[in-house]
């Protein structure tokens, strides 16, 4: 009997720079597994964001481009339009996608661009040092909301999966998390579905992953998992928000 648990081919041997308890590593691995299973490493182009995952290309073994803050969906559009045969995904955080890049993601989704977005929502700007994001929870303390997010001044946290699901253009949108093994299995299934829809040329796809940032939340990794379960998941509810299949059936 051979080895049953090995490193995916699409994942490099580079040591991670992510903090202890951060979920980027799990999400990277799921993407790599799916790319291996679909056999598309040779025609995949990933797009790294600005944020902690800007160095994502160090951890994968296929082509990568690095976007400016928020612009990954426009770059992915450029790639897919001129090279529809390539498998393209953007990997974006909440500051990147839900703040500065809101225009780009809405229009790419609404055009039904045939690429996939992995949207990592950890409710803060990670790399710049824990500033408030559009997804920061009410009362959540960050370095730019030291007294907690005041919803009278800043409004409520943006729900990206719900917001994009209002678009009439067909698409696949699901929100997942990776804070325990059963969730991880579901997250992988969602990523695989998203990539598969893209490879079939069917629709735009986005998987929102509710993630942890123990460092900027000021919590231990275990506390961060618990806070995600207790505070984030009731607000950012998991599940499928939009599917090209249900639309056809309905």
């Amino acid at each position: 009997m051979g080895k049953e648990f090995t490193r995916p081919q699409a994942l490099s041997e580079q040591h991670t720079h992510y903090c202890p308890g951060c979920t980027h590593g799990i999400i990277h691995r799921l993407i790599a597994q799916v790319i291996d299973e679909l056999g598309v490493r040779g025609r995949t182009v990933g797009i790294a964001p600005v944020g902690c995952a800007v160095l994502a290309y160090n951890y994968f073994t296929f082509d990568f481009q690095e976007a400016a803050h928020g612009r990954a969906p426009a770059m992915a559009t450029g790639i897919k339009r001129v090279r529809p045969d390539l498998m393209v995904f953007t990997y974006q955080g909440d500051g990147d996608l839900a703040s500065i890049g809101m225009g780009e993601i809405v229009h790419a989704a609404n055009r039904g661009e045939k690429f996939t977005t992995i949207f990592v929502n950890n409710t803060v700007y990670g790399m710049t040092g824990g500033q408030m994001a559009p997804t920061t929870m009410p009362g959540q303390r960050t370095t730019t909301s030291p007294l907690g997010r005041n919803i009278d001044e800043i409004g409520m946290p943006l729900k990206v999966a719900e917001l994009l699901s209002t678009l009439e253009t067909p698409g696949y949108i699901e929100r997942v998390t990776v804070i325990k093994p059963s969730y991880i299995v579901r997250a992988k299934r969602a990523i695989k579905r998203a990539f598969t829809y893209q490879l079939q040329g069917r629709c735009f796809s986005l998987v929102e992953v509710v993630s942890t940032c123990p460092t900027n939340w000021g919590l231990t990794p275990m506390e961060a998992v618990n806070w995600t379960a207790d505070v984030l998941l009731p607000y950012y509810q998991l599940g499928e928000y939009k599917s090209p299949d249900t639309r056809e059936e309905g």
């Binding site: 040779g42 182009v45 339009r81």
Partner: protein
């Protein structure tokens, strides 16, 4: 193939196709929206890609994404739109991707106006976006030259792995002139396997290509910028283009002017010659690199008393002209910047006023 009568903006779109570029992303803006209108029907006919983006910012990154895959790609816009694209242009230059931009300039700053202008000289030649980068800047003086510059721009962008910008103005975009598309300027895209993210499976190396601009190590970033500088120095050595006009005469005034403005200057020079007043002109066809040596040589001619930068901007080119003249002659500026192009008569008047009043030609030359 014979000549056809075409509007500048449409000819620019057709020129890109003839050059071998079938990918175009753009956002509408006056006075160049005809390029997008023309290509929205023309590109599907030839199996190309046309996409109207949601903003100029997004368009510049569509260009980046496509260029980073190794595909030929271009866009067109006008002044305020180029300001928005300048973020992306900085990244494209940093990532060393070939791409072609066309700026059909209108008056600024701000929304400015929609009439012809040359007020984006600094933006095109000195930066526009952040960081140490340069664009190869070509400035056509007519529709035929615009066509040829667009067609040359793609192989040049590939040779230098750097964005090229065609700096036209509203008049060139809007006027109709007879044009032809020279077959010899069609070209095949270069092989980009060494760096492009065109899919690992298509390459012999079997290694991932990464197109990036983040370089955190100070030494590596310094080296990267030195490498970019080397390319710009090579452009200065090999890519300077200009047209001399009436330089064989013993001119007393030397004009430096480009684009639409230079055509009016040419008429003024011809009319002055009939009055017995000689004026010469160096017309830069590339603004970066700038024809420094040609201007210095022309300014050094013994008969030359003054050098005048004539432009539809508030003297933005004067610094480059002064730098070229190296203090050998006084440098003056003449121009307008509201959208009206100065007339030949106004230029004649201005040149006379700049040249010494001791001249026998000028004593009785009042045109008032």
């Amino acid at each position: 193939m014979g000549k056809v009568l075409m509007k500048g903006n449409e000819a620019i779109g057709e020129a890109a196709i003839r050059a071998g570029c079938l990918n175009y992303f753009a956002y509408p803006i006056t006075p160049q929206s005809e390029v997008a209108e023309y290509l929205s029907r023309r590109l599907p006919e030839v199996g190309g890609v046309f996409l109207q983006g949601e903003s100029e910012v997004a368009v510049s990154y569509m260009i980046f994404g496509a260029a980073a895959c190794g595909e030929r790609v271009f866009t067109t816009s006008s002044s305020p739109g180029i300001s928005l694209m300048s973020e992306g242009i900085s990244y494209i230059a940093a990532a060393q991707c070939p791409a072609v931009f066309v700026n059909i300039m209108r008056g600024g700053p701000g929304l400015g106006g929609i009439l012809p202008s040359q007020a984006d000289y600094f933006q095109a030649t000195k930066g526009g976006g952040h960081g140490d980068y340069r664009l190869l800047v070509m400035a056509p003086a007519g529709v035929q030259e615009a066509v040829e510059m667009v067609m040359r721009a793609f192989p040049l962008a590939e040779e230098y792995r750097n964005p090229v910008i065609i700096l036209g103005d509203g008049l060139i975009g809007q006027m109709m002139e007879p044009v032809e598309f020279p077959d010899h300027l069609s070209s095949k895209p270069s092989n980009k396997d060494e760096w492009a993210t065109n899919g690992m499976a298509t390459r012999k190396s079997g290694r991932p290509n990464i197109v990036r601009t983040l370089i955190l190590d100070p030494n590596t970033l310094n080296e990267h910028n030195l490498h970019l500088k080397e390319k710009y120095e090579r452009m200065k050595r090999d890519e300077v283009r200009y047209e001399p006009y009436n330089l064989e005469a013993d001119y007393r005034g030397l004009i430096v002017s480009y684009g639409t403005m230079s055509r009016v200057c040419r008429s003024a020079i011809d009319a002055l010659k009939e009055q017995g007043v000689e004026v010469g002109m160096v017309r830069p066809q590339t603004l970066f690199p700038f024809p420094e040596k040609a201007i210095e040589e022309a300014a050094s001619k013994e008969s030359c008393e003054v050098v005048v930068s004539i432009e539809m901007s508030m003297g933005q080119m004067v610094e480059d002209v002064e730098r070229s003249v190296r203090g050998r002659r006084p440098v003056e500026w003449y121009g307008t910047c509201g959208g009206d192009v100065p007339t030949p008569e106004e230029i004649m008047e201005a040149m006379k006023s700049f040249m010494s009043s001791e001249s026998p030609h000028l004593v009785h030359s009042s045109t008032g």
